[in-house]
Amino acid sequence: MNTVLAERTAGRPGPPASATDPAAAVARTRARVSLGDTVTQTLAMAWRALKKMRRNPEQFFDVALQPLLFTAMFAYVFGGAISGDVHSYLPLLIPGIVAQTVLTTCMATGTQLREDMDKGVFDRFRSLPMSRIAPLAGPMIADLVRYLLAATLTYLMGMALGYRPGGGVLGVLGAIVLAVLTGWAIAWAFTWIGTIAKSARSVQGISMMILFPLTFLSNAFVPAKTLPGWLEAFTKVNPVSHLVSATRDLANNGVLTGQVGWTLLTGLVVVVVFMPLSVASYKRQL
């Protein structure tokens, strides 16, 4: 059950034989967590999150259902109006849906973290001499599974509707990898919301208010040039548009464009800003 983690071990001694000498115990204490221990602990927390996913498969419902439902719905409702017919709308739509589902999945990362933190077991995590980033970063590693699932299902559903990505297998794979990476990076923002919000419900509320404008005020579902000038200007700086353009270029044309760079840069900025904020906020709750 733990082969992945078994090989990673910092050279620590086993449990001390006796607890009778507190002075020795004090002398053994370390001032801080080493990087190696942080990695081990993060992987252990990822293992826990994966176990929980496997035991509660119902939490994959939204991840699985949303791509299927939204792809079909948007394709048939907007296809004719925007691109003349459903089939020619798909190359525009599918990358948009991928971005949307990956972002929605990020929201689940924040909500579940909040739910988890309200449980008694988090008291134990807090009382252990462990890295403060591990309880946050661990679940996010496990969540890569979700992003992968969401992105893959969207492409499969698109293909079922008749979408034939011009970028070929490599292009689609590239688009999926980019979407997963971006999802992971953006999830840090929602993890931060998870650490500051009062309840899982409020995490969801706040996240929705951010997600809806971001996804709909982008080029995800319509060509940006059909929008009023001020809105078109906004979609150009909206990071979701970069992700959508980058995945379109990859999946439809098989080319790596500068949009990929912008997307990765945005992701990096989110991580650099929100990772420390999340850890600080988690620490402050003690």
Binding site: M1, N2, L5, A6, T9, A10, R12, G14, P15, P16, S18, A19, T20, D21, P22, A23, A25, V26, R28, T29, R30, A31, R32, V33, D37, T40, Q41, A44, M45, W47, R48, K51, K52, R55, N56, K119, G120, V121, F122, D123, R124, F125, R126, S127, L128, P129, M130, A134, L286
Partner: protein, 345 residues
Amino acid sequence: MTALPAVQASGLVKRFGDLRAVDQIDLEVRHGEIFGVLGPNGAGKTTMLKMLATLLTIDGGRAEIFGVDVAAEPHRVRQLIGVTGQYASVDEDLSATENLWLFGRLQGLRSADARSTARRLLAQFGLEEAADRRISEFSGGMRRRLDLAASLITRPPLIFLDEPTTGLDPRTRGQMWDTIRELVSDGCTVLLTTQYLDEADQLADRVCVIDHGRKVAEGTPDALKTQVGDSTLQLELATGADAALARAVVLRVLGEEAVSTPESGRLNVPLDIADRAADVLIALREANVAIASVSVAKPSLDEVFLALTGHGAEDAADAGSGDPAGIVPGQDTPSRAGISTEVAR
């Protein structure tokens, strides 16, 4: 044995808005003892324990665990303590083995070591058969045992137990007490909170009583009890009019004033020795005072509180929010016992 105290705290303060959940508490827990923090729900016990265990920030005063400052070096302190919370701090979705393995890994054990430690602890706590079951299927007593086992993985020299037996049935409670005693015989120091006087009495070497965030008494359980008398003789007279006569008899036999309760015809007589109840009863019969019912009870937490603070334990519970971690519904003090068991003692 070392001179270093396990816990040394002075002037501890925790505020929640206007409420001072913990108000200027001084505490010293010696190495190798079981120290009991006694008080009703909402008195601030859990809050204080969480501050010492680095789970809540300290708003005022300072605390040291084996000489390590809690506020300045929480990471070091966490390596010296094990914390068992009031609500099972184990993962519901994992099995017992998985829980212990995870906590072992998080504390730097190699995977194989973590697994063997888990096996050893499950055997020690009689949970072998439930090793692969999910915690959500565990009974309350099993959860507490697993929870305690999880606190012992690295054999920390100081264990915090927050109400270790609240909600357990008497048999499981007794087992828990035995386990706690074993910990100390292994060289651990234990700080536990409880709302049961008899639990403090059974386990603790020393006790402090907390009320509204303040320490109102400290000492051995025996010293605490003698402040309220060893036990109380409760009399219900057949006719309320005999009350004055009965009080006179009690004063003559014991040299103590009986206390009238609000119900008419009821008297509470403090006894330093339970055996003296018989003397009182005989004297009452000789004086022709008819008695409707009689019982001898150990002093309850409520009576201790009444004696120490001038108000009952319920007052603090009503004040409520002192224990932000949540409040267990009020429970009756369990130490009331009929006369038969008391005489047998």
